[in-house]
């Protein structure tokens, strides 16, 4: 019964089928089976946020989801968001504002930031901070990250006007 289980899901728009052990979490599945190493593994117990991905449109911790639970799900990783251009302005803002140094937290931070930009485009700094509160950064002190997200929010709402 601890044998591999077949799963089928969509990752960044492409159908994927695999045989996985029940204990394999989604982060390790993405990294080791699919080679999508942009999803980082930090604490492995849901605290740091480095493994944040989208599942069926919602951001989740990939370390707190089994690959077998992603059966039939649509998973989007940082590679998907990056390649599609969905967050190119946000990525540019991170670069402009020095919102990353070592980069370990950055994929998860971008996933969480894009989530609030999508759902609350008028978010203020306090709301941005709260939305990112589950993502740890040990380099920047967060200020530059909040700057980058806020700048992106303002630029997007300016364009929408």
């Amino acid at each position: 019964m601890t044998n591999p289980i077949p799963i089928a899901l969509t990752v960044n728009g492409e159908g994927v089928s695999a045989q996985v052990l029940p204990r394999l979490n989604l982060a390790d599945f993405l990294r080791e089976h699919l080679g999508l190493t942009g999803t980082h593994v930090g604490c492995e117990h849901g605290v740091c946020g480095a493994c944040t991905v989208r599942v069926n449109g919602d951001i989740v911790r990939a370390c707190l989801l089994l690959a077998v639970q992603a059966e039939n799900a649509s998973v989007e990783t940082i590679e998907g968001l990056s390649d599609s251009g969905e967050i190119s302005d946000l990525q540019a803002a991170f670069q402009n504002r020095n919102a990353l140094q070592c980069g370990y937290c950055t994929p998860g931070m971008l996933m969480a930031a894009q989530d609030i930009l999508k759902h609350e485009p008028q978010a203020d700094r306090e709301q941005i901070r709260e939305h990112l509160s589950g993502n740890y950064c040990r380099c920047t002190g967060y200020h530059a990250i909040v700057d980058a997200v806020e700048a992106t929010a303002r630029a997007r709402s300016g364009q929408a006007r």
Binding site: H45, G49, R61, L64, L65, L66, G134
Partner: protein, 293 residues
């Protein structure tokens, strides 16, 4: 760390899940949203032989209000609670409290049934259910049990649930026109585990509490329904009544020392939360004064 090896099966219905739990007993663990179970597995604090995934059981979803009762299915996620107009109307304490539960990515997966069955003494929802006098509905192959929330939690991560039982729903009496509620927790940062928290629900008749239920969390081995509230009901609250309630509360609490706070700090904060709750609900800021000592 990585979880140790286990088997996995996806239950197709409540009946199916109950059959599996009856067969495997305490060798099995129920997997709901996994936001407490998965950390425990990854840290190898828990190593079940089998996970029974109930995530696809649609009959465990749903929020409905009828005959004065709001019923919330076990698989309702924290984010569903946050967004539910029915819950905001009939049990606004839950709407307010849920924003303090962890972070968006966790709230997108974590479920009310999972949180209650996990019974972390520092978590918000157990205290909310006891403050709201909720009924926790559990099923096994033998049938259904309906348990008062105040009787459900028995210790750190411990409840009256047997290994063969599945928590299927929570039922909350709907808010009355003169219902009032209060929620506050002290935490280092939003989303962190509370150092001390209070979920309260009451009935106000004029300026008198006809009823007041104080559900404290992170002050002992389980959510506590404080008997100290009896000092605050039935007549207009005076400063000395509040002092009596705080003293009674102090005698009821059994807080732990940990890296977040000493037991003494938790006792102090619990007394202060009591005062803040009463002052807020009665609109009597004079009652929330700092002790001189």
């Amino acid at each position: 760390m990585k979880a140790s090896a286990f088997s996995y099966t996806r239950a197709s219905s409540v009946i199916d899940a109950l059959d599996l739990l009856a067969l495997h007993g305490d060798q099995a663990k129920v997997l709901s949203g996994g936001q407490s179970l998965m950390p425990a597995l990854n840290l190898r604090l828990s190593a079940p032989a089998l996970l029974v995934d109930i995530g696809a059981i649609s009959e465990l979803r749903g929020i409905s209000a009828s005959n004065g009762v709001l019923r919330i299915g076990a698989l309702i996620r924290h984010v569903d609670i946050l967004r539910s107009p029915d819950i905001a109307e009939h049990a606004p304490l839950l709407t307010e409290a849920i924003a303090h539960v962890a972070h968006p990515a966790i709230r997108n997966k974590g479920t009310i049934g999972g949180s209650l069955a996990h019974a972390d003494p520092a978590s918000e929802l157990p205290a909310c259910t006891i403050a709201l006098d909720a009924t926790i509905v559990v099923r096994s192959k033998e049938g259904e049990r309906r348990i008062h929330a105040a009787d459900f939690f028995t210790g750190i991560y411990e409840t009256v649930l047997s290994p063969e039982e599945l928590l299927v729903a929570v039922e909350v009496p709907v808010k009355r026109p003169n219902s009032v509620h209060f929620f506050h927790e002290y935490a280092r940062r939003k989303g962190d585990y509370a150092i001390v928290g209070l979920a309260a629900s009451g009935i106000l008749e004029g300026d008198v509490f006809a009823d007041l239920r104080l559900g404290f969390f992170a002050v002992g081995d389980r959510a506590l329904l404080a008997a100290a509230s009896k000092h605050l009901t039935g007549k207009p609250v005076t400063a000395s009544m509040l002092v009596d309630a705080q003293a009674a509360l102090d005698a009821e609490l059994d807080p732990q020392d940990d890296q977040q706070a000493s037991a003494g700090m938790r006792r102090y904060l619990a007394r202060q939360l009591t005062a803040r709750c009463v002052a807020t609900l009665l609109r009597r800021p004079d009652l929330e004064t700092r002790p001189s000592a």
